[in-house]
């Protein structure tokens, strides 16, 4: 079943897409160079003039921009249009540092909502659907983006915001909402609450959910789908580049299609900045082609993923990105292989272990060693040395399958791995001591 919102764009041929991207890129670079002093300086330092960038093949000439630049230019330093043309702002939560504020013209908002409408249609939505938006509203982009997409499509839109879960369920029952949009953890919580209230998926009318804004696993997807009786779709975006709807999942659920009429995606080696080919794992970089108020060129997302340009069974020609596998800030290179703590965490959850672990990397006889300490709780403890040794071996095998390198796994009693306030110190790299 093919569900498109704008088929002529979503299923455009490669030539059409390239022509559109080339034209938009050249005019966007000019717009940014002429209107943003901060960017003009970066480009001048690199010796790049707007006329040097005529097609997407020239993209590599442009400097990267990162969150640090956004913070430095806060609040108005990257604004590319007069304030009187802006109608909306959104802002990141600021959990990892100073806030970032992004601006939108009326047209920016319009195009963003269009991207979100594509995501709703790809999840099977039509104007007959009733969309329950349980993302937070306000500075966060989640509520505003999906709310706007739902309006664009012409759905009846329930602006619930997040929280008050029993009321959410009450509305689901009374108004018979068919599509739920929220964070995956909130969707899981709604599913549990439904069960605790003695209800089943048969008591509600949901058919699909669009969940994003935080990492989630395939296991979570299965649980949510079962507990709510729906098909669960992923959506990707970041406040810096508009919000949700940068990329969205189709019914094939094999990666998220990037809205390439609005964004050019590149994968780079986070260490060297070198552009990698499709299929290689690296840091995702976005260039915004249409945003007027807050256009970012070659923005480093820090998200690690892989791009796939193979034909998708849904018919869309937009490139697909995998779910982010980790953050480039957390990347370790062990025996020449890029390793992310989040990959190890994924294996632990799949194998039924709690996500409490410590990774130790060291160098012995010029070879890197990887030791993973994992907590064993009473429910998985059986009392022979042999059983525990087998568990360690099985877990090491599963981690090797994920990473391509063998770790040594050490099971330790639950609650013995140090917990720290805020972000856990999960990686100890002892190799630095030898340098």
């Amino acid at each position: 079943m093919a569900n498109y919102y704008q088929p002529e764009i979503e299923c455009a041929s490669e030539e059409q897409r390239k022509a559109m991207q080339d034209e938009r890129l050249a005019s966007q670079v000019k717009h940014v160079y002429e209107n943003v002093e901060y960017y003009r300086k970066l480009m001048d330092e690199k010796g790049v003039k707007p006329e040097d960038v005529q097609t997407t093949a020239d993209l590599y000439k442009l400097p990267f921009i990162s969150k640090a630049d956004l913070r430095e230019a806060y609040p108005y330093g990257l604004l590319a249009t007069p304030i009187e043309e802006c109608v909306e702002i959104h802002s990141t939560s600021g959990t990892t540092g100073k806030r970032v504020v992004a601006f939108y013209t009326k047209e920016d908002v319009d195009l963003w909502h269009e991207c979100c409408a594509r995501a709703i249609v790809a999840a099977g939505g039509t104007k007959e659907d009733i969309c329950q938006i349980a993302y937070g509203y306000g500075l966060f982009t989640g509520g505003a983006g999906l709310d706007g997409g739902s309006h664009k499509l012409g759905c009846l839109t329930l602006p619930m915001s997040s929280g008050n879960t029993e009321r959410q369920i009450q509305f689901m029952q009374d108004l018979k909402s068919t599509i739920l949009c929220c964070t995956p953890s909130y969707a899981a919580y709604i599913g549990e609450t439904l069960r605790d209230m003695g209800l089943t998926p048969d008591d509600i009318s949901l058919k699909a959910g669009i969940f994003g804004a935080e990492p989630w696993t395939e296991e979570m997807r299965k649980d949510i789908e079962k507990n709510l009786g729906i098909k669960a779709y992923d959506i990707y975006g970041l406040t810096e580049s508009s919000g949700p709807g940068v990329a969205f999942e189709c019914s094939a659920q094999k990666g998220m299609h990037i809205n390439e009429d609005h964004f050019i995606a590149e994968i780079i080696n986070p260490e060297t900045g070198e552009v990698l080919s499709d299929g290689e794992k690296g840091e995702l970089v976005f260039t915004s082609l249409t945003k007027k108020a807050f256009p970012l060129l070659r923005y480093r997302t820090r998200d690690i993923c892989v791009l796939n340009r193979e034909k998708c069974s849904c018919g869309r020609t937009f490139v697909r990105m995998t779910k982010p596998m980790g953050r480039s800030d957390d990347m370790m290179i062990i025996r020449g292989v890029n390793v992310f703590p989040s990959q190890i965490e994924t294996v632990l959850l799949e194998q039924g272990y709690p996500p409490h672990y410590r990774i130790e990397v060291d160098r012995v006889n010029n070879s890197d060693t990887l030791d993973v300490y994992v907590e064993l709780s009473s429910n998985m403890f059986s009392d022979t040395v042999k059983d525990i040794a087998k568990k360690e071996k099985d877990l090491a095998g599963a981690i090797k399958t994920m990473l391509g390198i063998s770790p040594k796994v050490h099971l330790v009693p639950a609650k013995t791995i140090e917990r720290s306030e805020g972000k856990a110190v999960r990686v100890v790299d002892k190799r630095k001591l030898h340098d």
Binding site: L376, S377, S378, F381, S382, D383, T384, V385, K386, I388, A389, H410, L411, V412, P413, A414, K415, T416
Partner: protein
Amino acid sequence: MSIKQVSIFIENAAGRLAETTKFLADNRINLRALSIADSQDFGIVRIICENPEEAEQRLKEADFVTTITDVFAVELQDEAGSLSKVLFILAAAGVSVEYTYAFLSTKKEGSAYMIFRVNDNDAAIQALKDKGIAITSQKDIF
């Protein structure tokens, strides 16, 4: 006729065993037997005590990683070959022994017991009974 053994998973680090036994003592968990198995990283402390369920509960509340395992005990006669006789019976019945350890009774002066953890408790107990060997019950040792 099984006896319930409480096992505790601990780090193989200095002081962990001392902390564990102190906890048992502070909680007045009356031990009849204690044995330890260890590897480079971890240790398993196995105890036979008077109220295993209650002991397990206390340990869990204190965040120990613990479980209850069914084992059985045999009183050894004070004569040569009595242990090998038991092992032969088990082997003949196709039962494999995971581990075994001994303790002396304080209830019945001069008696020695062996605790067995096997892959099939029921088959082992049946085989021994068939050969006329008495299985010790929980109340025999407390």
